[in-house]
């Protein structure tokens, strides 16, 4: 099999789903051929194949984009709505949280919302305070919605197919810095089930639980520490919520130590839920407290030097691992 980038993987997954199911369609700003297939080209080539109704370039109207996607989903279609950057969910949270996530429950199961909301974000691009936030914790705190993010191209392909298959709404978070990542193409029909984490690297001394772009850092750190004889198990959640508790707890019960890692700011982040749950459920296995690593508690700064200082880095990860192991 050939290599594909994460961006191509997403495009292939969507293309395949559109070919198989006439109800799958894309909508969002700049997504159609006339605009070059999206600002990150994830929807490129689709208008040519499936026509303008199934790849709708929209006005800058996120409430209408998500709202329309909710409506179409209620009517049995499978919309894939794009919110160009994650911070812009700020203008359409109502449609996501009060509607997409709740309509199945509030209708007593008479309706459901098979909707994928794709969005991208990421610190390290120089976009500044209003274009870089990781807001997965907001959605994770809402019943009725799945939150998914791939850390590599193969998972991107498989998770996107699974998200489109899903009969519930899914927030699908992409990281701008990961679009170029390459992997062996898992090929047509490949699916990674929602709600299943991956043990990205097996280890025995400590569990490092993460997702998205920071999986790369985690694996690099694990490599580096292996040379010093420290064996780090890296868990890639893939689905942030509802997450794969069994895999996480099994890992921590095995290693006895855990660190959570994400790009989002640490306070009240997803690492808090992981840590809280782990300490409660693995109390007897734990050799020390669960530690958390996250972005600095400030808006994302513009200047590169500050932005780099803001992101959790490998040095911090190594420091926390060693401290946890009493090798600080």
């Amino acid at each position: 099999m050939a290599e594909i980038t994460l961006a191509q993987a997403l495009n292939k997954a969507i293309d395949e789903a559109m070919a198989e199911d006439a109800g799958v369609f894309c909508l969002g700003e700049d997504v159609s051929a006339k605009q070059g297939g999206g600002v990150f080209k994830i929807t490129s080539g689709l208008t040519e194949k499936y026509g303008a109704h199934r790849v709708r370039a929209t006005p800058i109207s996120e409430t209408a984009i998500v709202g329309a996607a909710v409506g179409a989903a209620l009517a049995g279609q499978r919309p894939i709505a794009e919110i160009m950057l994650m911070n812009f969910v700020g203008v359409c949270m109502d449609q996501i949280v009060n509607h997409a996530a709740k309509l199945r429950f509030m209708s007593g199961g008479q309706t459901n919302v098979p909707l994928v909301i794709r969005t991208t974000t990421g610190v390290g691009v120089g976009f500044g305070g209003q274009h870089s936030d990781m807001l997965e914790a907001w959605f994770a705190h809402v019943a009725g919605i799945h939150v998914v993010t791939p850390s590599n191209a193969a998972d991107a392909r498989g998770l996107m197919r699974a998200a489109i298959d899903c009969n519930d709404p899914v927030i699908f978070i992409e990281n701008i810095l990961c679009y170029g990542l390459k992997a062996e193409d898992p090929g047509p029909g490949y699916r990674v089930p929602l709600g299943k984490a991956a043990v990205a690297r097996v280890g025995s001394d400590i569990s490092l639980i993460t997702y998205g772009r920071t999986v790369i850092d985690a694996l690099a750190v694990a490599d580096e520490l292996a040379k010093e004889g420290i064996s780090v198990e890296v868990i890639d959640l893939r689905t942030i919520a509802p997450y794969d508790e069994a895999t996480v707890l099994a890992s921590v019960r095995k290693t006895g130590l855990a660190i959570t890692l994400h790009e989002a700011v640490r306070p009240f982040g997803t690492g808090a839920e992981l840590a809280a749950n782990i300490q409660e459920k693995c109390w007897d296995s734990l050799k020390g407290p669960v530690r958390r690593i996250g972005g600095t508690f400030s808006p994302v700064p513009f200047a590169t030097v500050l932005e780099q200082a803001w992101i959790p880095n490998k040095g911090q990860i190594i420091g926390q691992i060693k401290a946890a192991l009493g090798k600080g």
């Binding site: 006439a22 109800g23 369609f25 909508l27 109704h53 199934r54 709708r56 929209t58 006005p59 109207s61 409430t63 209408a64 998500v66 709202g67 329309a68 996607a69 909710v70 409506g71 179409a72 989903a73 209620l74 009517a75 049995g76 279609q77 919309p79 203008v91 109502d94 449609q95 009060n98 509607h99 309509l103 199945r104 429950f105 509030m106 209708s107 007593g108 199961g109 008479q110 309706t111 459901n112 019943a143 009725g144 799945h146 899903c166 009969n167 519930d168 509802p242 997450y243 508790e245 749950n277």
Partner: protein, 326 residues
């Protein structure tokens, strides 16, 4: 004489009286303390809802609001399911989980009842998009208030619906109030329908108390939508004759204005039109008597019905029931 044929008039009359009798019944139950739930009265707006629903087929989609009893009843939700839902019973449309503000019944096209002002318009746009995508010929009607016309979602939906020429009818029931705030205190323009021009959309302003204005306007909008000619904004002027919800303070509503509006009450006007069309008093009363009997039976059944069990909390959250919320 009106342009509406007798059969359609009787249809509209029947729907109107179903809405009105349901409203009266609900208020009397609340007044007597037999039930205690949030209920948003529709007294004064019955005709608008009924005439609008009479312009749709059973399969057409409707999105409405917490003040949606009119659309829900007139579109044909079976009363026993409707009442059971309002009373929080497991036999209700939504197993008691939605309640008065979230009545849903896809079998009759009631796709969403939203409690968030203005949120229905973007959703209706999407239902219309689905119909345009799959060519099912359905029309979507979304009902909303004058107050809702000032929220961003209104604007976004109007522009998007017109841009794609979607089969959607935007029905603004201008009852002169958004909660406690009078129309002129929340809207800077003379009317809501005048905003349609800013989207290149057709806008129509009608007297919502006059069946000969409201039905033809909605029917034309529906026909155009179905023919692929795009959306219409229909504004029906009416009046909220009660407080925002049952039991709410309405001292802020000037008595004189209320009295003036009561003289425009759509019900006596509609009855006059019916009599003009040779329907007899007896015939019209018989319609109401049948409706009352049906409502009484539905209420009795709903009162007697079972409550939902706590297991319902884990069901319908996701497709797969939650085992444990970790």
């Amino acid at each position: 004489m009106s342009k509406i044929d007798r059969a359609k008039l009787l249809d509209i009359y029947t729907r109107t009286m179903k809405v009105n009798r349901t409203d009266e019944k609900f208020r009397s139950l609340l007044m007597q303390g037999k039930v205690a739930v949030m209920y948003y009265c529709v007294r004064g707006q019955e005709l608008v809802s009924a005439a609008a629903m009479a312009a749709l087929t059973d399969d057409d989609y409707v999105v409405c609001t917490y003040r949606g009893q009119g659309e829900q009843t007139a579109k044909g939700i079976p009363p026993e399911l409707w009442w059971a839902e309002c009373l929080g019973k497991v036999t209700g449309t939504c197993k008691g989980k939605g309640g008065t503000m979230h009545i849903t019944y896809p079998e009759k096209g009631i796709m969403v009842t939203t409690g968030v002002v203005g949120s229905g318009l973007p959703i209706a746009t999407g239902l219309g998009m689905a119909s345009q995508n799959n060519g099912d010929g359905k029309v979507t009607l979304v009902s909303f208030g004058d107050g809702a016309a000032n929220i961003g979602g209104f604007h976004e939906a109007m522009n998007m619906a017109q841009l794609y020429k979607l089969p959607v009818v935007f029905l603004c029931q201008n009852n002169r109030y958004g909660e406690h705030t009078a129309f002129a205190d929340h809207t800077s323009s003379e009317s809501i329908s005048s905003r349609a021009a800013g989207y290149g959309m057709r806008g129509v302003l009608v007297d919502g108390n006059d069946v000969n204005q409201v039905y033809p306007a909605v029917q034309e909008a529906v026909d155009r939508a179905r023919a692929g000619e795009g959306p219409t904004l229909v504004e029906a002027m009416c009046y909220r004759m009660m407080g925002h919800f049952f039991g709410a303070d309405f001292s802020y509503m000037p008595k004189e204005h209320l009295a003036e509006m009561q003289r425009e009450d759509p019900l006596p006007k509609l009855r006059a039109v019916m009599l003009d069309h040779q329907f007899s008093e007896e015939e019209l009363d018989a319609v109401v008597a049948d409706i009352d009997a049906e409502i009484d039976a539905a209420v009795a059944a709903a009162l007697a019905a079972e409550l939902p069990g706590p297991e319902e909390l884990a069901i319908d959250v996701f497709e797969t029931p939650l085992v444990e919320a970790h």
